[in-house]
């Protein structure tokens, strides 16, 4: 049974695929330049670690035109909880707003830090959910649409994955 949490943007449970496509057709360069600006951190000085990690993930993913289009086409809020840290991601026309705390949302995902990091680094959602390490609530289709936006991509600029020294 889906959770009936009220969205901050009342029309936003399901994003419009059409909007995704329209945005994807926009010229990439101006949008690429704006990718980091499209992630709006509320009260950064007080933001918790989870919110800062989310900002990094979103900013990296929004450089990808298709993912950027997807994010800008969504009108919904997601509540993410890792351990006792809460953030709410609100997808709006001007970007993705991240605020600390649990606000009204269309969907929720929670778990311990390691399990959630596993999800965003590609371990998949189903296994951790079945094992009870990750819990979801609200609109599952929305979560499926959002998951690629918070999934870690391979970063070309990273040092090689060798041993620390």
């Amino acid at each position: 049974m889906p959770d009936r949490s009220t969205a901050r943007e009342p029309h936003a449970d399901e994003p419009s695929v059409g909007a995704d496509r329209a945005l994807a057709r926009r010229p990439a360069e101006p949008l690429a330049a704006r990718a980091a600006e499209l992630v709006i951190l509320h009260e950064p000085e007080r933001m918790n670690l989870l919110g800062l990690l989310m900002r990094g993930l979103l900013a990296a993913n929004l450089e990808e035109p298709a993912l950027r289009a997807r994010a800008l086409g969504l009108r919904a809020s997601i509540h993410v909880r890792a351990g006792d840290m809460h953030v709410t991601l609100r997808f709006a026309e001007d970007g993705v707003h991240i605020s600390a705390g649990a606000e009204a949302s269309n969907a929720r995902v929670s778990g311990d830090m390691k399990a959630l990091l596993g999800v965003v680094t590609g371990a998949g959602m189903i296994g951790p959910v079945l094992r009870g390490r990750v819990r979801i609530g609200g609109n599952p289709f929305l979560l499926l649409r959002v998951l690629p936006l918070i999934r870690a991509r391979a970063h070309a600029s990273l040092p090689p994955a060798k041993e620390p020294s």
Binding site: L49, D84, M113, A152, A154, E163, P164
Partner: protein, 473 residues
Amino acid sequence: MKAALAAIVGADNVLDAAPDLAPYREDYCEADPVDPSLVVLATKTEEVQAIVRLCAERQTPITPRVAGSNVGGLALPAPGGLVLDLTRMNRIVSVDEADMYAVIEPGVTQADLKRHLVEHDIPLTFGFSLAPPDTSVLANCLLGGLTNRSLKYGDQSQWVSGLEVVLSDGSLVRTGSWALSDSAFGLVPFPDVSGLFLGWQATTGITTRMAFQLWPRHPLNKRLFVLTYSAHGTFEAVRRLCRTELCDDIGGLSWPSAKMMMGVKHPYPEPASGEPTFFLYVDLTAGSEAEMSLKERTLEQTLADVRHLGERIEEPLDVATLLRVNPALGAFAEFPVELEFLTNHGGGGLTWIGTYGPLSRFEDGIAAGTEIMVRHGFPPLIVTRPMRGGHYGVLRFVAIFDKKDAAEIERVKKLNLELLEMVTAKGFVMYKTPPWAWEKLRGRIDPGLLALMERTKRMLDPLGIMNPGKLGY
């Protein structure tokens, strides 16, 4: 003086123009800038000897310097004094793979030595401080700095196996086995006089070469992060892990470090609700997968034991996972590292009260230090590490500030003074002790030690030209 120096090193290696002198008048910390009269760049020991003789003749103060990243004003000259820039003495003289030591000059940096070992496929390593890659390895050894091998092997002065030092009359001395043998294998068995130069902040001589121990580089390495939620849980885990003798390093950073690394310049001084308060990074090395697996299991079991005490501790996270989530955390993926949030934050100022002290008192020190930092309006940026098997540890309170803001500099000075009083009262001892702190501590140090130091100093530097202003001289 300039002409005499030019006769030793060539005119191009003597600087006296204001723009050339500017980089030498300050370091990261809040110490007042001091203008040197001249800067001279040496390339070999014989030049250093000649320069020191000249300074002795003219009674000119001389201060050696490499990167100047000690964060205590230790490489700032005496007013009107001369700075001896040793960056060009950067030869890795030898690496003895069989007996695991290297002989290096003062200008050899962390990055240089690492590159050398890797490029020559030498299966040895050393330790890296959290200072920038261009930091002098020799200087960190002489000043008793710490590295990511300090849990196993202690502070870096304990790795020294021989010194070559220019004394204040220009003469040269070799300490350790090097005094007789062609192998600088250790400081034994002759009377060890290396201590006349270790920790003395170049007030007794200028070290031109150093032999120091390297350590095996194991084929398998892992860095794991452990998020914790209380100081007691953190250091109970640290103390227990030390006694397993399985970890190569256990660094502990308070919550603001991760935030600053991820771009928050001035985190609110209190942690956000529900977030971890400490991040341990644990280095494990092994020669085989089976050994690594055993170490990981032991780590996990040790953490589980602390959880059973009611402490909340997350499961270890591999650094590679964190890197994928946020590349900004890459600063901790591989050493040496440029911690830009400390050294390149716009304001230019970096300062700390760095101490060595008993691990059993860390929770107490952290609680008191956190209260002081928050009260002064600074996020409680704290760096910790158990040293030498856990017999002691480093507890360091770090602040960044704007060097152009006089009021902030005053605030930092008050902060550091209060932190110094607190840590000293709790039994911690400040390392790389800056001149201002030495003056504050002088009245509490054993008078017998001070008298012996005074006699030693007079014997080794009767003219008082060697790095004046440090250690009260």
